[in-house]
Amino acid sequence: MVSLTTNLASLTLSNPTILASGVMDEDAGSMKRILQCGAGAVVTKSVGIKPRKGYPNPTLIELEHGMLNAMGLPNPGIVAFGEELKTLKKVKAPIIGSIFGSNATEFKSLAVKMQEYGANALELNMSCPHAKGYGLEIGSDATLVTKITTTVKDAVTIPVFVKLSPNLTDIVAIAQAAERGGADGIVAINTVKAMKIDLELEMPVLANKRGGYSGGAIKPIGIRCVYDIFEKVHIPIIGVGGILTGRDALEYLMAGASAVQIGSGIYYREIDIFKKICQEIEQWMTNHGYKHVHELIGVAHQ
């Protein structure tokens, strides 16, 4: 028998697949369905202090090798979101609350509320590539990353993960900044800044013009980031970016990830992709004589 159980700080996941933030995670019903489809944990939509409608459409389009999106951080605001989380309390798998703020005070206030509403861990969104004043604009400043992480850590008892962007000169330096702030884990990567121009209309397709690229095309970018972070930080890494199959997930584990997140994959392989990936990992491990997922973490570093 193969064991897919994995640990992230104090959390134990029945398997290493986690729903990535931003996909089918704005309401309790959706997150329940994702867990029924086999995910080991879910990350919520990124939630801020106030409700945000996000950008007008088109907010998401398919390209040849991936998906391009600029949703604009739509969310009902932390208070309304609390209702969704409260109805999820009976669920056994970990719920990771994603939050975004424009400064340490906002992050702290959101973190405290998320914990109060029942989230089992936090993911600090310091990497959304297209929202002014949020996300990457914060996550590219090492001092600010440390400060926000410390402030949040001091305010809550649940584990805190920091999600980073690949659009950084040195992602390892920012991961270290999060580690210095006391982060319990690093999530890498968010989408890659990108744009699509329509030839007929001679204009960018996304209403926000710029967006973030996800899907198969960005997997090698994510693998490189996870590999480099693993060499320099000592907290668990959650790998994200272009994971569509068990083999993709295994590559991230070998690069150093303790778990993986799946988002766009739902489009390519339907909503039960979590079960499919787990079966593929299991099969591969059986064929290669592995018994526990943790035996694979970071094996590519020789």
């Binding site: 931003g22 996909v23 089918m24 995670d25 704005e26 309401d27 019903g29 959706s30 997150m31 329940k32 369905r33 994702i34 939509k45 409700p51 945000r52 409608k53 996000g54 007008p56 459409n57 088109p58 907010t59 998401l60 389009i61 398919e62 390209l63 040849e64 998906m67 999106n69 949703m71 739509p74 969310n75 009902p76 605001g77 309304a80 979101f81 329509d198 007929e200 209309l201 204009m203 397709v205 209403a207 988002g263 766009s264 739902i266 489009y267 909503i271």
Partner: protein, 259 residues
């Protein structure tokens, strides 16, 4: 690939005050009840069910209500729009005797299903509901195709006075049907669902939609059912599992809105 095709409008028709139909060439198979994402460049992109389904020629019929539909309303023959799709699960047309209940612009997406039922020689009864007789459309189109058409208006300006679901209840006591297909205001459909317990029913529902391809989760109802993917047409069995059906929808931020 789910990327908008830029196409030009072949024909624009005014159906009623504030209600227009655009016809355009868009090859490929499509079921009644399925929808397109219609892009008005520079404004917005919104879901719209197909209202005409004749081979390559497809159509949409809409009411001017928000920014996108207002911008769309002002377009004319020859203007460009972006179209992607078809998306979602449409109607399953089966049985010997079907009752269609359409309220408001819901009538638009029922029309191709009614025409297909007629072509297959299924006995077809249609109830059209509108607020006022001026807002009624497609009555002639449906009479021409040979079905029995009843009309109700909220103010009694034409036909039965009251909601389409009230008239449906009356019709259901006199006649039996193998199936009910409906689209209209959700409280009307909920009323119909609750008052036709023994008849298989399919209802097309509407939610604020963003990606249209089952990823963003914006349009989810019940326990994670995506209106853009598992819907927009849902069977009675699934509708019965949705605690939100007929009660609330959500806005662009995901906040609950009472229906």
């Amino acid at each position: 690939m789910n990327y908008p095709q830029i196409i030009s409008i072949n024909k624009a028709t005014t159906e009623a005050p504030d209600i227009k139909t655009f016809l355009f060439s868009y090859p490929g198979p499509m079921d009644p009840g399925q929808f397109f994402m219609i892009w008005v460049p520079g404004i917005d992109e919104i879901p719209m069910s197909v209202s005409y389904l004749n081979g390559n020629m497809k159509g949409i019929t809409f009411r001017k209500v928000g920014d996108a539909t207002t911008a769309l309303y002002h377009l004319k023959k020859g203007d460009n729009i972006g179209v992607r799709g078809p998306y979602g699960k449409g109607f399953t047309i089966e049985g010997k005797n079907i009752l269609f209940v359409g309220g408001g612009t819901g009538i638009a997406m029922l029309a191709p299903a009614i025409e297909q039922a007629q072509q297959r020689r299924i006995s077809t009864t249609v109830i059209l509901g509108a607020k006022h007789k001026q807002e009624l459309f497609f009555e002639k189109r449906l009479q021409v195709c040979g079905c029995k058409v009843y009309v109700s208006t909220d103010d009694g300006s034409k036909g039965h006075k009251g909601y389409a679901s009230d008239l449906a209840q009356e019709v259901l006591t006199k006649e039996s049907f193998d199936s009910i297909l409906t689209c209209g205001p959700e409280p009307m459909m909920k009323h119909l669902l609750d008052n036709s317990k023994n008849v298989p029913l399919q209802a097309s529902i509407e939610r604020y939609m963003k990606c249209g391809i089952g990823l963003c989760g914006q349009c989810c109802v019940g326990e994670g059912l995506r209106v853009c993917k598992e819907g927009p047409v849902f069977t009675r069995e699934l509708l019965d599992t949705m605690s939100d059906f007929g009660r609330y929808s959500r806005d662009a931020a995901g906040r609950k809105l009472s229906l």
